[in-house]
Symmetry: D2
Subunit: 391 residues, 4 copies
């Protein structure tokens, strides 16, 4: 009857050992540098078989159900920043699911297996400057030329973008078809000629994550790099989003818990008017309220996972978990900074890093408002007519 058992506990332990020994001691350095060594770090996880938990053994995976991915996502929250966990999540749950499910054997051998092994770093190319949440509206396109695709356009906000070896890239390939049927997913090796990733993005948070803007100018890629069927890119991507959302929610749990813990520890030790800050009922009651929301959020993630593992479609619950994640992160982050007083304004303070990093969760991977739209659709409350905006 319990979602997690002994094996999950073991997995969690392994993950935390890597974090304690090979990651957390270096995070401050990486944050200052604005990047972390993705290949080196991924290899640590790959060696322990942690990058393919849910993938078939034939490709180096562990063939475990999704509850193990959730357990790992939770533990990654123990990393002292948001950038590294996000990079790992991109590798395991954002750029590889479609490849693993629909890719040809050749593609899987060339890109999935080394990614599971930790020898390659992948990234996912969906968002563009003019199309963040509105995936259907992307402009990057590929035309066929002989056995190749020739790709032009560009992608924005690409996590792992500077270091990645390959991108799972959504492009328009079918002219004249409706926007849900003209797209394809193509694997692009990022050392291909015509790939320009020289623009560095300066972000509010996630400082050690390398987030790139990438331009494609006549990038030539063999047609066998197409994932699955042509014209199915949008559908594959929508399926891929489901795990991405559940992963993002699971990954946030521990991070939020740690923000609460930091705030309790700081306010307990901080003296004010002859007592501790924490002694103020306003403070400990508010923290209790946030802890309650956090438990509700966590329970929602677990419930969605449980149903997903048992084979149910959890698009609605996963979207709700992602929305609740965004909402709670905005509220909890704000209060934790607040209760740190002046220290809550100092960039070096871990709570400020967590505040800046976590602010992304309500924006990236489908903003809160996108989740609202999806939930409405699944509840059957979205107006039929165009967009249902306003009166």
């Amino acid at each position: 009857m319990q979602l997690f058992g002994q094996e999950h506990a073991l997995l969690r332990k392994t993950v935390n050992q890597i974090i304690d020994k090979h990651i957390n001691p270096y995070v401050d350095e990486w944050e200052a540098a604005g990047a972390f060594p993705a290949h080196e770090v991924f290899k640590r996880f790959g060696e322990q078989g942690l990058l393919g938990l849910k993938y078939p053994e034939a490709h180096g995976g562990a063939a475990l159900d999704y509850s193990y991915s959730v357990a790992m996502a939770e533990e990654l929250g123990n990393i002292n920043c948001g950038g590294v966990p996000m990079a790992i999540g991109v590798q395991t749950d954002m750029c590889t699911p479609a490849l693993a499910r629909f890719g040809s054997d050749d593609l899987k051998k060339t890109y999935l297996e080394p990614s599971i092994a930790g020898d390659m770093v992948g990234c996912i190319g969906v968002s563009e400057v003019g199309a963040g949440s509105d995936v259907a509206n992307i402009k990057t396109h590929a035309r066929k030329d002989g056995d190749d695709f020739v790709i032009n356009g560009g992608k924005m906000w690409i996590t792992n973008g500077y270091q990645a070896d390959w991108m799972c890239c959504l492009v328009n390939t079918v002219e004249g078809a409706a926007s849900h049927r003209n797209k394809s997913l193509i694997v692009i090796p990022l050392d291909a000629k015509g790939v320009d990733r020289s623009t560095k993005l300066d972000k509010l948070g996630m400082r050690c994550s390398d987030t790139a803007q990438i331009f494609f100018e006549d990038v030539r890629v063999p047609q066998r790099n197409l994932i699955g069927q042509e014209g199915y890119g949008f559908v594959y991507q929508m399926m891929q989003f489901q795990e991405e959302r559940l992963w993002a929610a699971a990954n946030s749990v521990r991070g939020l818990e740690r923000m609460l813990e930091m705030t309790i520890a700081y306010t307990r030790e901080r003296k004010l008017f002859g007592g501790s800050v924490l002694d103020n009922q306003y403070v400990h009651f508010k923290l209790a309220e946030l802890a309650t929301e956090l438990e509700a959020f966590k329970a929602l993630v677990y419930r969605a996972t449980e149903l997903y593992v048992s084979g149910k479609d959890v698009t609605q619950l996963a979207s709700m978990a992602k929305l609740k994640c965004g909402r709670l992160t905005r509220e909890l982050g704000d209060w934790c900074v607040q209760f740190h007083g002046g220290m809550g304004y100092m960039n070096e303070n871990p709570i400020v890093r967590a505040y800046r990093d976590s602010r992304l969760v309500a924006i990236g991977g489908g903003a809160d408002e996108v989740m609202l739209g999806i939930i409405c659709k699944l509840m059957g409350t979205l107006p039929k007519q165009s967009k249902g905006k306003s009166s």
Copy 2:
């Protein structure tokens, strides 16, 4: 791995049959009358073995784990008012747990068995005019006289108070002891001489629930009516509260779902500016947001139940579930009324009844603020010194 199975489904069906046939057709009448026939209604449930799901078979119970109580609590939310479910909850999860666990065989035979059978109606006497949340501070006391207790004082906000046959009553029995060790639970037959329940309370909602103020003047009760050990009343009551809270949270789930459903149905049908009210993004997004909170709340109730059934102490999670229940009910009720427009101000409208009824949940059975205090205590954030109020 699933909390609920086939047997739960069967149980839910039985409960709903009673509701559809014997309860909902009469609710409007009972609401107008300010009372419902508790003995008659309870008998319906007793006949199906539904009043003793968790109690031993020896006493007429079904000896099922607590997940069945939760399933039943959920379904009771299908009743078209809050008063009747609350009355049943008092019988099954508020006035009987201590009796079942600590009562003598004689007491159980006399009071528990007929209550499980639906032949007797019970109530729980804790709150007093001067002591609502602050249980330790009650003033009602019993002194010994021969083989009897002689009880004086009074109880307030007693659900089932006018119709109940007996009360599980918390009184001070030990003079001079600390307030956590001077109390006992005593079963008081409410037809005893000196019991005055003539004061009718006019409530905002829960209109068909008979809520009494009860006075005791030299009420004589045999000492064998003591539940368990003398001086342990406070402790027993605290234990009893745990199931009460989980029950109240579970009972709210379906009620909240129905409020959302009513609001979706009404706003879908209601025309405004050439479309439906629901077509407004402000409306369907807000309803999606509330539905998300509701799923998080529900997941929290299920998770607490699962852990409770597996033998864990869930005082903190149950208190969180109760708090979240109160918070969400206040918010969701307010918005559902709002989206009903002028109809949301008409007493006869089901949404207004639900709004008035559900407003109690954040006040009764330990107000939101009491839950906050308990959660803080269990999180270890409550100040040691007196009350931790203020600076």
Copy 3:
């Protein structure tokens, strides 16, 4: 906004009436589900309080709108929301258009006795199928000789059972667009064909008589038309502006009293060896709500000041109404909460306040209608219909 000695005097007069002639009877009226409007209005009319802003020639006092705001504030010293609402309907909802656009005949026959407190008026806009969406009302009048013949019905009509006349919005022009086919007509409510027998049972505002009114071939002389035919929608929109400002002003003191009651109760109520108020969670929350209340008050005063100085304050008045509605929901909820079990007893004044104040966000243009208006005035509403 600077209030003067004269405002202070006015406030005192209003409170004198309330203390002596109203509050002693409110509980009785609440239980009865109505209050004697003619009797009560006469008390105010005798002191010249029902026509503060109207011209002296019609019995008014010719004062600027700040006096109306001051009076609206004080009316909330009444121990319920229903009576102030009834008075507001008389002074700021059913009479502004009549005073501004009505013929001399109409003003003599309906406005003057209403200012004097001899007549009770009501405003007929909402219908079962058209609450916020005023343009879509269905009640219509056709001409027959010198008369209008009116058919249809009105819903949620405050003062409806007792009123002598209604300022009624009806469709009179066939074929014109919804904003140009309406007229305001004064309907005497003792006319044949007016049926007001349906009693509405409301969550709050219990002492206010809120009627559903049906019209079946109700015959009214055409001279009862206010201003020009086809301008009813426009007049009503103008009339709404004062209604909203009045509503926001009227809520200030009501909110303040709920906070006072809650402060008093929690101060006196003992729990865990101290008062409930001693809990930081409680006094901080009350401080936060008091801050929002001061913001609302300042907003109402600022809107009033600009209105008095001749500015168009449709946006600020709508904002004040929205803020008032939001705050009524929040303050009411918390005040009930901090009363604990007593906060669930109908007889408790705070519960009455909670039930009464809940109307503010719904009546007179719901919060969402205010949002729409504000968006329109901010230029952020999409041009296209339905997104």
Copy 4:
């Protein structure tokens, strides 16, 4: 609050400086982590803008506080929060006590050049162990001959690296209770023993130089004492009142600009075949935030009006500060949100606004400190210490 032609003129002058001499350089200053305070202050000093409320004999303009509020509003047209904050420290945080209680010598030496824009001042209250809890500061001065010898340190000192002098709160009286043992002393910051080498890396307000300053045997003549010894705490509390009103006034336009940016961006940004702004969820939320902003503005104006007319507005000013802090948190969060991915890019003005505005709830008395003050003035704070 009625603003006159003169206020309008003042606003214009301020904006002239901003447009020409400040905004073109702000990005550069933000990147550098500081701005040239002396140069910038001189621009304002030359126009008489640093002493609006101070007596003419010291170079001030002798105007009532409404002019200061008007200027505080306009300063937020600067494209960052750091520069306005620095100016506010000069005009409303480190000089009020000096101007009111300082000796002629002190005023001539420090106030006059500060008004002229020749000197930069800062205010030294907070310490590492004492942010909101002013009474518990540890920095102390002992007398030695005609001097004070100061030891300790100050934290979060705006203008700290560039300032010529500090209005510094220190303990001077041994054995007295915490409210009677403090004094305000002017400390010239080029004095031996002053160490300001620690650079603070802040979430926002990047162009503001915020210093941690250490004092080791810093010798200052006793005539640098402001007013009476032992009155430092009281003076500082008085000084806080103007600081808070200034802070609230300064936030109005900053919030307004964030809303404007967001309206513009969402109007231009296309999604699902329409603009982001066309979404009702978006334009309604912006309308709601605009309503709260108008409430804040009205509250600031009302507090100013009462302050100018001689009333004690400690409560209203604290409420305005609290409301301002709350709103900065809420507006900032939503404006970032509605910018989507662009709302996470540091170079985006709305992100700067978000990071800068986040300070309002923390600095100059955190929201929770305001709540405590309001409770105290409402009479709801428990008498007993610690519950």
